[in-house]
């Protein structure tokens, strides 16, 4: 399905609204001011994303993932490089980068909550324009190579992927992460048709 520039703009807007809401929440919850920007939103097929992210293939990533199901199926995730994930946790917890088996839990808990807030903002924003309720599975935390994380959840290489790069700046530390939403076949078309309804002049 062809995507018009208007639809892309609306998608970007939806993501930005969701992220904005999350940041508002994080800023109030944490002691620090968090600046979060979404410089780029792209729509790709799962295949295209695999090709694009091959350069990241060897890098360890950390992801907070949340599946959604029902008629509108897919997975949303906030993906960090391990370095960014450690930096984020250490900034939030006032310490140096943390390592070690027990400390995984410390990282995981914190990342899970931050990821949860960001994803809830984004998914809430998308959910608002859907006419039906989305069923969510509990957020999980995973680590591994990019293709083994979010993309492995896509059941078809034809699945559509929304990739939004995000830049957090917390206490002058820049943390980069990607919001990745994998829409199973059909789900993205549903979203686009709903968006189209919001753009009466588009046709």
């Amino acid at each position: 399905m062809e995507i018009s520039p208007y639809q892309i703009d609306i998608l970007k807007e939806l993501i930005n609204i969701g992220v904005g809401r999350s940041v508002g929440m994080l800023n109030r919850m944490l002691r620090y001011h968090i600046d979060l920007q979404v410089p780029d939103v792209r729509i790709l097929s799962a295949n295209e994303l695999v090709v694009q992210t091959q350069k990241l293939a060897s890098e360890e990533m950390a992801a907070v993932e949340m599946g959604f199901s029902g008629r509108f199926r897919g997975t949303s995730a906030l993906v960090f490089t391990s370095r960014s994930a450690s930096a984020l946790v250490s900034v939030l917890l006032d310490g140096d980068p943390v390592h070690g088996a027990d400390l995984d839990m410390l990282r995981i808990g914190t990342l899970q909550e931050v990821g949860n807030i960001v994803l809830n903002g984004v998914m809430g924003s998308i959910g608002n324009i859907l006419e039906e309720t989305i069923d969510y599975s509990p957020p999980t935390f995973e680590e591994g190579r990019f293709e083994n994380l979010v993309l492995s959840k896509a059941t078809s290489p034809e699945a559509t992927v929304l990739l939004a790069q995000t830049h957090f700046t917390i206490r002058q530390v820049l943390i980069e992460g990607d919001i990745v939403i994998v829409f199973e076949v059909g789900a993205f078309d549903t979203l686009l048709s709903l968006i189209s309804k919001m753009v009466p002049d588009e046709a």
């Binding site: 919850m29 949340m66 027990d102 914190t110 909550e113 994803l119 809830n120 969510y136």
Partner: protein, 455 residues
Amino acid sequence: MDEQAYVESKFGILDHVPIGIFVLRKDYTILFWNRCLEQWTKIARDAIVGRNFDDCFSTLQKPLLRIRLESVFEGGPPTIFSSQLHAYLLPVTTRAGKIRFQHTIVSAVRSADQSSFYALFSVQDVTDLTHRIQDYLKMRDQASAELEERIKAESRLQQQKQVLTGLLESLTARIALLDSSGVIVDCNRAWTEFARENVINQMEVGSNYLACLKATVADPVLGQNLVEGLTAVLEGHLARYEEEYPFRTGSGENWYIMSVTPLVDGLGGGVVSHIDITTRKQAEKKIEHLALHDTLTGIPNRLLFSDRCSQALARAKRYGKSVALLYADLDDFKTINDRYGHSAGDTVLRTVARRLALCVRESDTVARLGGDEFVLLLADITDTQDASRVARKVVHSMARAIKFEGNPIQAKISIGISIYPKDGNSMLPLLNAADAAMYRVKAGGKNRYQFYSEP
């Protein structure tokens, strides 16, 4: 099915999981409270179900939590409250009385009538883990504080070292640090430059300085002294060792003082310094020379003569030898002074001193006792002939006129000779005897010599 029956049928199975689970209606009424929570809170399900959560606990009243929970009640995505950012949602303690840290996930579940959503709280106890992490963090903070302190101390030390290095580099003294075996560990610029200028390779860092001294000090006695002194300090037997020594450099003979002090008491190793004392030595020599020599003629004065005389007599006594004293007095010196002036007199005295010195062996002494009086000390003579030979040479050496501003001045000399041991046992009687003999010459016509013992 009424709400309570629905809840029990739907969530009853959650009594069997080791996770605290409770369910809230949108109005915060507690609908379900599992066994695990009964144990943690000591509140029975019957006692709490149906009550408003806010009446039992105050923890969910924070607006920020409320906002996030609202979206769950609207069927939104699950919400996580981590132990790291919130510590706990239920204020309960462990059996040991410690606060129970909790990781809570709140999910939306359909209400009994399917028209709205309940919030299902699943609370995971992460107390042990959190304490382990806290202990670790405490340890890490301590370690990091200690590290910081050590870094500061090292930085202070570094600064002190820089000051010290700057100081050492600016000194002209050659300074090196030796380990307990004498190997050069560090040295200053003056040390390196000295080694380079004098092409001494063994003075480099890493070389053994004891070996260097053995190889480079020409005087074997001095070399042995330096090595022994240095070793004694390095081995802790001596608190300080100093030795003054001459060293021939490109610019002539210089004098140095080598000092060795232990580096740290008892640990071995030491600091060696060489300070150039050439100027001091030269001054000392000058002072010594001034004290023992006649300023006008440069030959020994009465003081040095006395010393040499005593030594010569002692030696003669020991080896059964003879010593001759030749007491020489210029004839009519007053007339020269009166006629040509005092400068002329001085010139005559200097010339006479020089001519006298040429008449004796190097081991003999020519001294000026004062005025126009000289004495020649001939040590270790075997025969009085030796003395008369010198006396003849002296009288003869005066035959040539002394030039002063174009004028020839004829100096003449009268000599009285005394012989040890024949004419006296010590310096004074011998001097008196020679003096008396000299007066006899003066009375008898001057410009010749006479032995005291001669009639």
